[in-house]
Symmetry: C2
Subunit: 225 residues, 2 copies
DNA sequence: TTAGCTCTCAAACGTATGTTTCAAACAGAC
DNA sequence: GTCTGTTTGAAACATACGTTTGAGAGCTAA
């Protein structure tokens, strides 16, 4: 035993519970009892609940960040000065996420769900922490997106990036539930990888959509097919 | 005073605080002190915090539900048996949301944010409540989507609807923050209505995207593990 | 063995939460 | 005015939370 296997057990339990229930709704007592660890161990090893949340994110975001930077490097090198296309950029991100080494079979969906929670439940301190620690690869992704869509105005691009983030975070954060529902309804089995393969073309087409509507084409207005 | 204007003050305060901070993070004491009402009033008038959450949703979802049903009626009647197009269907939904009578200038974004929270923070009891009370217009919207996209397989359509929901819920639930960020970054003012006008074409194009990718178009084709 | 350090444990701390209590204030009907 | 049912008010309730404490176990090195 000795040397904190306790730390990992806490991180494992916290990760899973946070992904299931969110941060505020998960108590340290739930975490420590799931981890079979004493309550005080969290504050001893991490200092506070906030610091534990940060540690949970750091454990999977730090390797992901490296993987992603390397993948971007490879992509830009391959493209020899020409900016990568939108599809390429989206795929490099998606692939880096999917190919991350997982601790278990639920790893990828926990990963996605936590990312989604980081956006929606943002605890203030979490947002600050993530910006500070992982702002760089994020900015780089944004730069690539900008170069891949020179035809868009800054405002158009801004909103469409939000739409992409939303579709991705939302779908991936509920991927487990959505896969189950699909199985029940249509008897079709799906994987997270397949969701990603469907998501990328959806996003890419949305990004390339014609301008925003000027006149609501509701009832009397002429509509496009 | 008399006859519960207390009830409305509680609902107003709760609505705003829930939208700002989420459900678990908003205490009854915050609500009652913002509403200038005694703490016990919540349990007296609503019975419990859960019931208060339901009441907040019911207050704006019930009229919205009626408006939406009427708008769908009008749309289908106008189309004389032919199924409405995707753009029409999306716009009717969007318009019904935008045109809802608002209690104040923040009404529309509170409305959107609460809808977003209902998806992401789903408290179990909330999801059950919403399905039971407002499942019908939702099913109808789904039917219209299906008829508007007969070229899609059921599986394709299923996933793309999730993508649409995600982009919408995510963006709208953070609309205030996103509008602020845009103003800071690019000095551009935006409204919720404008976001909607940008969202609809994005979604419609995404829905019509070509099939899911068979081979990741990354670098050299097949990529390493 | 002893000393020192890391880690675990049960218990308690202070604070905040949702809920309940019960007396007082109030309204409208008689 | 008096009575009756409804609504408010201040206070307390029980429970849950994150955090802290201090004693002690377990290990390593002298």
């Amino acid at each position: 035993m000795a040397q904190s296997d306790t730390v990992d057990r806490i991180l494992d339990a916290a990760e899973e519970l946070f992904a299931e229930r969110g941060f505020a709704e998960t108590s340290l007592r739930m975490i420590t009892s799931k981890a079979n660890v004493n309550l005080a161990a969290v504050n001893y090893h991490f200092g506070s609940k906030k610091a534990l949340i940060h540690a949970v994110f750091a454990r999977f975001l730090t390797p992901f960040s490296s993987t992603l930077e390397a993948a971007f490097d490879e992509l830009e090198q391959k493209c020899q000065g020409k900016p990568p296309t939108l599809n390429q950029t989206l795929w490099v991100l998606t692939e880096s996420a999917i190919r991350m080494p997982q601790r278990n079979e639920k790893g990828i969906s926990i990963f996605m769900r936590l990312l989604g929670l980081a956006y929606t439940q943002s605890q203030g301190h979490l947002r600050k922490f993530l910006e500070q620690e992982y702002g760089q690869p994020f900015s780089r992704f944004m730069r690539l997106l900008k170069e891949a869509t020179p035809e868009l105005s800054n405002v158009d691009r801004y909103w469409r990036i939000q739409f992409m983030l939303g579709a991705t975070a939302f779908t991936m954060s509920s991927s487990d539930a959505l896969i189950d529902i699909l199985d029940n309804k249509l008897g079709v089995q799906a994987t997270v990888q397949e969701i990603a393969a469907r998501l990328v073309p959806f996003l890419a087409e949305g990004m390339k959509a014609p301008d925003k509507l000027q006149v609501p084409p509701t009832l009397s207005g002429a509509t496009v097919a």
